[in-house]
């Protein structure tokens, strides 16, 4: 049996850092930019970056309908920052033409914490990965405004959810790929079974 491949959507953004994290954990990671590459992966990480840019490139690459199909068929996914926006059911303050895949029942506000000057880092305790705090880095981050019934909130900062899970979909409004702490990637990989 061939080891499962973790895809990393590589249209734009911090995809290389996610590939490095998956490599460090001894799993196979593969960059996804087109239909052939998407067909070869068993799960997908959608990285941080500019959600409008990634969204445009999903259209020009023809990946959008294929990815929607894979996600609705149950492909596991981990979305960080822009990735969270793309996976959520509702996007506030997005562009009018911005579409999301709607596979985790969340309303998120784009740049909901403000501009870069308001970007920050903070300690998080996530029960699922042990009591050692995780240093979470928020960059022009989306803010979770509403959480649906089926969604587990795994961590919050000042009572606002920042790490959520629904079935095989994991999302964070911060950037686990920017720190030398791979526990959230490990959590995602563990969920792949």
């Amino acid at each position: 049996m061939v080891a499962p491949i973790v895809g990393v959507l590589a249209l734009q953004g911090a995809f290389a850092k996610h590939v490095e994290a998956i490599d460090r954990l001894g799993h196979r990671a593969s960059e996804v930019r087109n239909a052939e590459q998407l067909a070869q992966v068993d799960s997908l990480i959608i990285p941080g970056g500019e959600s409008t840019t990634i969204s445009k490139l999903l259209d020009s690459s023809g990946l959008r309908p294929l990815l929607a199909e894979r996600l609705s068929a149950g492909m596991p996914a981990f979305g960080t920052c822009a990735g969270m926006i793309l996976l959520a059911t509702e996007v506030l303050d997005g562009r009018d033409d911005q579409e999301s895949f709607g596979v985790i029942d969340l309303a998120v506000r784009r740049n909901g914490y403000g501009r870069q000057i308001n970007s920050f880092e903070a300690n998080l305790v996530v029960d699922d990965i042990g009591q050692q705090p995780l240093r979470a880095v928020f960059i022009r981050a989306p803010r979770v405004e509403a959480v649906g019934d089926g969604v587990e909130v795994l961590a919050s900062v000042e009572d606002v959810p920042v790490l959520c899970r629904q079935g095989q979909i994991l999302v964070s409004s911060f950037h686990p790929e920017l720190i030398d702490d791979d526990r959230l990637h490990q959590l995602f990989l563990a969920g792949l079974g």
Partner: protein, 305 residues
């Protein structure tokens, strides 16, 4: 992500903003993208619609600064506000080399990145801005690795190879990228004892040279700027090792900016896919005319110390 200088706020959760990690973090998010120079809100919309990862708000593109001559300064805050109001993507703006008050004003305006830029007329012929003193991140230009490391030592969170802005000629961008990345490769291979000589030759801090030797890469993201005008130029910069591209005059000085902007975005993502590059390069109309290096009187790249 080695040091934790310049932390400004802290409360519960050890909440901090303006850290090196937060400032370099935005540069990580801009990777694989195109940052476009815009002079009006309308152009900013075109850039965002085309898929730009950020816009650089300025009053005149470098090609016009070159033609007009005179002193080029920070843009009018009203103009920057006008662009911020219409876009949802990050907005950058330029401060003159060494003009830390322009930096303070741009930070107060809430721009997302400040470019301490040689395209504007330098305000200080010896010192660059102390960029650790700011919560807003800075990008600086460099023509070689020594210049890049001096800027990083001053707190720059992103380096762009300078190229020669406003020319539509990619030759200087290629020269600077090759110089920076060629020296990174040589240092990676160097003997420990040779690193002292490298630091001396580069006029750069030894610890930064040693870090490159150990990691094999520059401490901050390396983007490419200055003279890119076509999708092929963008892909060339990416194949040479740039992590994103700035396109200044190249878009809005061309015949038909919107399709060219979109094509450059696609070329930057798919920089290794020649079939796709052939497809997106078709029928874009005339690129900016450009100027050759020998007919060029002012070299912006020589500004910076």
């Amino acid at each position: 992500m080695s040091s934790e200088n310049n932390t400004s706020s802290s409360s519960n959760n050890n909440h901090e903003s303006g850290t090196v990690r937060v400032k370099r973090g935005l540069a990580e998010m801009l990777k694989g993208g195109v940052i476009m120079d815009v002079v009006t809100p309308e152009q900013a919309k075109i850039a965002e619609d085309a898929g730009a990862v950020a816009v650089m708000a300025l009053e005149r593109v470098p090609a016009d600064i070159r033609v007009d001559g005179g002193v080029a300064r920070m843009s009018d805050p009203e103009m920057i506000e006008g662009i911020k109001a219409v876009t949802t993507i990050p907005v950058m703006a330029k401060a003159r080399i060494g003009h830390f008050v322009e930096g303070q004003i741009l930070q107060a305006l809430g721009v997302d990145y400040v470019d301490e830029s040689e395209v504007l007329t330098p305000a200080d012929e010896t010192h660059h801005i102390d960029k650790f003193a700011f919560d807003v991140p800075f990008v600086c230009g460099a023509t070689n690795l020594g210049e890049a490391l001096r800027r990083i030592a001053e707190g720059a969170c992103m380096i762009r190879s300078k190229g020669e802005a406003g020319t539509g000629n990619v030759v200087e961008a290629v020269r600077h990228l090759r110089s920076i990345l060629g020296d990174v490769r040589k240092i990676t291979q160097a003997d420990e004892a040779e690193l002292f000589e490298w630091a001396k030759q580069l006029q750069a801090p030894l610890p930064l040279v040693q870090e490159i030797h150990d990691t094999g890469k520059l401490q901050v993201p390396l983007f490419c700027a200055g003279g890119l005008a076509t999708p092929a130029d963008a892909a060339l910069a990416m194949q040479l090792g740039a992590e994103s591209v700035f396109v200044g005059s190249g878009i809005f000085k061309s015949d038909d900016p919107a399709p060219r902007a979109k094509a450059i975005v696609e070329a930057t993502t798919n920089f290794n896919d020649a079939d796709l590059l052939a497809k997106v390069s078709r029928g874009l109309g005339a690129p900016m005319t450009g100027i050759g290096m020998d007919e060029d009187n002012v070299k912006f790249a020589d500004r910076g110390w």
